[in-house]
């Protein structure tokens, strides 16, 4: 039959098999050519009375549709244009939904955004039970809402509360949940999809088949009447507001759109959805999130791809929290990992922490017990360097001490092959210092992971002037495989991330010294969109760690004449380490899990229990501006190679508010001149540490942006 560019159409037993298979791509994306072809296919099917139904399936290995092609948003400037885009999509889906013959979505692999909405418009959904199959509406993560009917169809299929959960978080639904929520009419094995699809066509033509209602009794009761729904929506709004601090417009619009549809009916709901989509797509928040997304996508490509060496065996030195975390993300990718600590007992303790984490996944049915066992077998706990000449990459995650790290480098160099790459997971010590006495400094590189490694999406790679491209390429490859977004920066005290967080932490401590209250500082910063306040963060990472980082960077800041707080090291001397020893700025319960209010005793280090109120804006500006300025200095000093790396590093590594897009994107948005002006006035009030970076002053003067 007809062979088109993206879509293949084949009729078997009076059923049209529509195979989506974008040539030359790993995944299918919804874009204009695809929609165009699809509408032509619909014409053909509708005019052919020999066809009883259609099965939509993908020709890709582990993908149905990866979502809308975000490049479509780039070419559209105004809300109206984007609203129109949404309407076009809605129209074609309406053609499917209202078609006289049944349409079946047969889903295997990732099915995201527009793909999910297409499936929702079909009359029947079959989902493969493969672990690559995941369904989601992640639009919210880009500051958008599902704009092709998702806000109307999903709640009607799986229930309002469940639909809101998926749309507001953007989280994935795996095949097990797809069956349980009622998203899928059937869950079958991947090779049965087409047969099951054809059978479904036959069944749907023979009799009316209602979608399964898998809602609980309580859900039905609450969702089935206007009063109950009102409660649901108002609760959802309340939760959303408290979580987003009003920084993200998209989640509220999602709730609005669902509610509107229930009040005014579907047709008006679609209309509302399109309008909201257009409006959201042009918000600064969405633009920033989309830019970040582009940055992350681009970072998946290894710029040194050809130079990388094949890695099979990794060794991780130090089985503490970081070492175990690095091991866990490595075995997930099938690497054999030699987890070494001073003795095998300590190494095995680290391995057991990983076992606990994998057990949680087994409980959630993400892993089978057998898969867990197979992964755990890839960890080889050891107390010695036997056979290290066979190891491709050694990542050390030992205590942050220069002498110790140098000793480790020496030991590993003596035990390993001349090709073995030695990576340091230091958070602040310059790599060239660690490599100072190395025999093969070209093999030495920094791989700065963030805690908890399993969750934090960033890997900051640090190269020295001597680091070989082979080492960078290989470290980059490992990072990408581990699912990390990788940035590569140049060496220096604190590299990029620790260097910009240090003055920010310092400012928080200075504010405390000046009499600010812990809760006010943390509240203001959380309000600004950071996931935790700086004081709580000090407790989390450890006051000792913070003091260490401050120590490493102190020369740099002192040279500039910046005022630095020495309170962190004073606190460490007094035994305050934060959450880990339940002695910090906050009180902690026995199990270290929960915070229990402010530890007022600690104020004795900051001039007594009497606190005064600061203007929120003052705290906000001082904290944010000092960080922005330091980021620009990193670019100016050549630590950073691009503003995009700076944005990714700050957002993914430090929790810089994503809706601001990162330090550089934010400066561009506000205008370099305005930021420079604010810094000038802060300098006048608080001293030279706020001196505007030359590069920023240049940009302000020439009215330029960092991102072009």
């Amino acid at each position: 039959m007809t062979t088109q560019k993206i879509i293949r159409l084949q009729v078997e037993d009076r059923v049209a098999i529509i195979t989506l298979d974008t040539p030359g791509e790993k995944v299918n994306k919804l874009n204009e050519p695809l929609i165009d072809e699809f509408s032509k296919i619909l014409d053909q099917i509708e005019s052919n009375s020999e066809i009883d139904g259609a099965v939509l399936i993908s020709g890709k290995e582990e993908n149905f549709i990866a979502g809308a092609d975000i490049n479509m948003f780039k070419t559209r400037e105004t809300a109206e244009e984007l609203e129109e885009l949404s309407r076009t999509g809605q129209k074609i889906l309406a053609r499917i939904e209202k078609n006289s013959i049944p349409f079946i979505a047969a889903i295997h692999g990732s099915c995201m955004g527009g793909g999910t909405e297409l499936a929702l418009a079909c009359h029947y959904r079959i989902v493969s039970d493969h672990n690559s199959t995941k369904i989601g509406l992640p639009e919210v993560k880009l500051g958008l809402l599902p704009g092709m009917g998702g806000t109307q169809r999903l709640p009607r299929l799986i229930g309002i509360q469940k639909a809101l959960k998926y749309m507001l978080t953007g989280k994935n639904m795996y095949s097990y949940q797809a069956g349980k929520t009622g998203f899928a009419n059937e869950v079958v094995h991947p090779h049965a999809l087409e047969t099951a699809g054809k059978k479904a066509v036959k069944n749907l033509n023979e009799r009316y088949i209602q979608n399964p209602d898998k809602r609980s009794f309580a859900e039905k009761l609450l969702e089935g009447n206007p009063v109950g729904r009102k409660v649901i929506f108002s609760q959802a709004r309340k939760r959303t507001k408290s979580q987003s601090k009003g920084n993200y417009p998209a989640p509220l619009r999602i709730i609005d759109s669902v509610e509107y549809g229930y009040k005014e009916g579907r047709e008006k709901g679609y209309s509302y959805e399109s309008k909201a989509f257009g409006e959201l797509a042009v918000t600064a928040e969405s633009r920033a999130l989309v830019q970040l997304f582009f940055g992350m996508t681009a970072a998946k490509k290894n710029p040194w791809e050809e130079k990388k060496t094949d890695v099979k065996k990794i060794a991780v030195l130090g089985a503490g929290l970081m070492g175990a975390g690095i091991t866990e993300v490595s075995i997930e990718q099938g690497y054999h990992v030699w987890l070494k600590d001073q003795d095998i007992e300590s190494a095995l303790k680290g391995a057991s922490e990983i076992e606990k984490n994998l057990n949680k996944k087994v409980k959630k049915r993400i892993l089978s017990e057998f898969e867990r066992d197979s992964k755990l077998s890839l960890i080889h706990a050891t107390g010695d360097y036997d056979g290290f000449e066979q190891i491709d990459v050694v990542i050390e995650a030992v205590f942050e001490n220069l002498e110790l790290k140098r000793k480790i480098v020496d030991e590993v160099e003596n035990q390993s092959d001349e090709k073995t790459i030695i990576a340091s997971n230091t958070s602040s010590l310059p790599i060239s210092d660690i490599a100072a006495k190395a025999k093969r400094p070209e093999n030495i590189i920094g791989m700065h992971y963030f805690s908890p490694v399993q969750k934090m999406p960033l890997l900051e790679i640090i190269k020295t002037k001597k680091t070989a491209e082979r080492a960078i390429a290989t470290a980059y490859d490992i990072g990408v495989r581990q699912g990390k977004t990788v940035i590569v920066v140049n060496d220096g005290p604190g590299f990029y991330t620790s260097r910009i967080i240090a003055p920010y932490m310092n400012e928080a401590l200075l504010l405390l010294e000046e009499g600010a209250a812990i809760e006010q500082i943390d509240r203001v910063i959380k309000q600004a969109g950071f996931p935790v306040g700086p004081i709580a963060l000090l407790d989390e990472v450890g006051i000792d760690v913070a003091a260490h980082v401050a120590g490493v960077l102190s020369d740099l800041f002192k040279k500039r004449g910046a005022k630095t707080s020495n309170k962190a090291s004073k606190l460490v001397e007094a035994g305050y380490k934060g959450r880990k020893n339940r002695k910090g700025f906050y009180n902690y319960e026995e199990d270290k899990k929960k915070k229990k209010g402010i530890n007022k005793e600690i104020y004795s280090f900051f001039g007594g229990a009497e606190r005064k109120s600061f203007k929120d804006r003052e705290i906000h500006q001082r904290m944010l501006m000092i960080m922005l300025n330091e980021a620009v200095l990193c670019l100016q000093d050549g630590i950073l190679e691009s503003p995009t790396d700076g944005d990714l590093g700050a957002v993914l590594g430090l929790g810089f508010p994503p809706f601001l897009g990162g330090p550089f994107r934010y400066i561009d948005r506000e205008g370099a001149e305005i930021v420079a002006d604010r810094l000038d006035s802060l300098e006048a009030d608080y001293g030279v540490r706020f001196r505007t970076a030359d590069l920023l002053a240049d940009k302000a003067e020439n009215n330029e942006k960092f991102h072009t």
Binding site: W338, S352, E355, D373, S377
Partner: protein, 434 residues
């Protein structure tokens, strides 16, 4: 393998590993054969820095088999960190199961059909399959064909209450019904091995194993196993009684033939949980890939007698075969590692080898093989003290023998073991000179 076929490829033993051997119903009681097997394979990879793609086949021994994992070799290979494309075979030959695993691999390598293999064996005596009796099993299977509820009325027809009792397997000969211990007791009586001799031998085994453990000699072969989320880490064997005395042993009553038998719980090997694994390769390939072999597999033999009152005497027949094949004498052997099923069985074998009468009558040769020097035999303890998880023992013997050759600067090691069914095995390995 009886001829010295020099044109054939040489098979080298790279290294071996085992879990600690634990008395049944102690810490490993929560484990299955699958668990211990995957721990030890992962441990072997750890020790050898083995790369999965270097392996062509897995041969793995198991005696007490679990229905859920009927080809246990495959599950262990998959879950143990080996590549999914490596075929795996479970083999069973009672107490010499991992020996047959090793020799199968050796033969496949010498003939060139594979170049390398992971071999070993596992048994968990804490977890034996307890079954329903045959009549009840039959009934249960019949119910699958029941169509209507009233069919269930037939269920109890012809079923006696005793049929509902579970059937617990015992370690006895299927053909004769005798337990191992009983057979051994008969054999020692026939060969005139006294209770005192047996107790003294068992005591020596425990003391030697204790000393070897204290000196860390066994660390090289043991893979520590973390249990209960790392709360306990098992690093040593727990059946070794370093504080045992001849006097204490003499107070135990006979365990199998009462009252005048001589085999007691103290001079017999105990029920044990454990697993072992080893890596063998074609020599040139091993060297090309950068492995450091410990030993070369030279010759081996399997023998069998009809089960009777000499059930466990196999080594006395197998040892002469391998010595003759290599034109070696007892004096040429530096390291002896024999499986100690029972002290009495060991002593019988040693007596037989040192007896002209036995040589003439049973081996059709003029002269005895000779006396095996005590100081070269099972220097680091044996199955009596370390334990005997059936299928795991053979690989332990080979690994220990190879490690001893290196420590003691020897050249040849002789490994021998008896097995249920009247079977036996012997093998000679030579230290690798790199």
């Amino acid at each position: 393998m009886m001829k010295n076929r020099t044109q054939e490829k040489e098979v080298v033993f790279i290294d071996g590993a085992r879990t600690p051997f634990l008395r049944a119903q102690t810490e490993f009681k929560t484990c299955t054969v699958y668990d211990l097997g995957r721990y030890v394979v992962s441990g072997l990879i750890n020790a050898t820095k083995l790369e999965g793609s270097h392996i062509d086949h897995v041969y793995y021994g198991n005696v007490i088999q679990d229905v859920n994992t009927h080809n246990i070799a495959r599950e262990i290979a998959l879950a143990g960190g080996l590549h999914g494309s490596i075929p795996a075979t479970t083999v069973s030959m009672a107490c010499i199961s991992s020996n047959i695993a090793l020799t199968m691999a050796t033969e496949a390598i010498t003939t060139g059909s594979i170049e390398s293999a992971v071999v070993g064996g596992v048994d968990v005596m804490s977890d034996i399959p307890i079954r329903f009796r045959k009549p009840f099993r039959q009934k249960l299977l019949e119910t699958q064909r029941y169509k209507k509820p009233t069919d269930w009325l037939k269920f109890f027809k012809g079923l006696r209450p005793s049929d509902l009792l579970p059937e617990i397997p015992s370690i006895s000969e299927f053909s004769t019904g005798d337990t191992m211990g009983k057979s051994c007791d008969k054999m020692v009586a026939k060969y005139g091995v006294s209770r005192e001799e047996q107790d003294a031998y068992a005591l020596k085994s425990h003391h030697r194993a204790h000393e070897a453990t204290e000196k860390g000699m066994l660390n090289e072969e043991i893979v520590p196993v973390p249990l209960k989320n790392g709360k306990s880490i098992i690093k040593v064997d727990n059946g070794i009684r370093g504080d045992s005395t001849q006097k204490k042993l003499s107070t135990l009553s006979p365990a199998f033939i009462k009252p005048h038998g001589t085999v007691t719980a103290g001079n017999a090997s105990f029920l044990t949980d454990g697993a072992s694994a080893g890596l063998v390769m074609e020599k040139q390939r091993a060297l090309d890939l950068g492995y450091k072999p410990k030993a070369v597999i030279r010759h081996f033999a399997f023998v069998a007698q009809r089960p009777g009152d000499e059930l466990l005497i196999g080594p006395a027949f197998a040892v002469p075969k391998v010595l003759d094949a290599m034109k070696l004498k007892i004096d040429d052997i530096d390291v002896f590692e024999f499986h100690e099923a029972f002290a009495g069985q060991m002593l019988t074998v040693l007596k037989a080898l040192d007896s002209n009468d036995f040589a003439k009558k049973r081996l059709q040769r003029n002269k005895k093989i000779g006396k095996i020097p005590e100081e070269k035999l099972n220097k680091w303890g044996g199955s009596l003290s370390i334990g005997h998880p059936f299928a795991a023992t053979g690989m332990r013997l080979v690994t220990t023998a190879a490690n001893r050759l290196i420590r003691e600067d020897g050249r040849f090691a002789l490994i021998a073991a008896c097995a249920a069914g009247g079977q036996g095995h012997a093998m000679i390995i030579e230290r690798y000179q790199g």
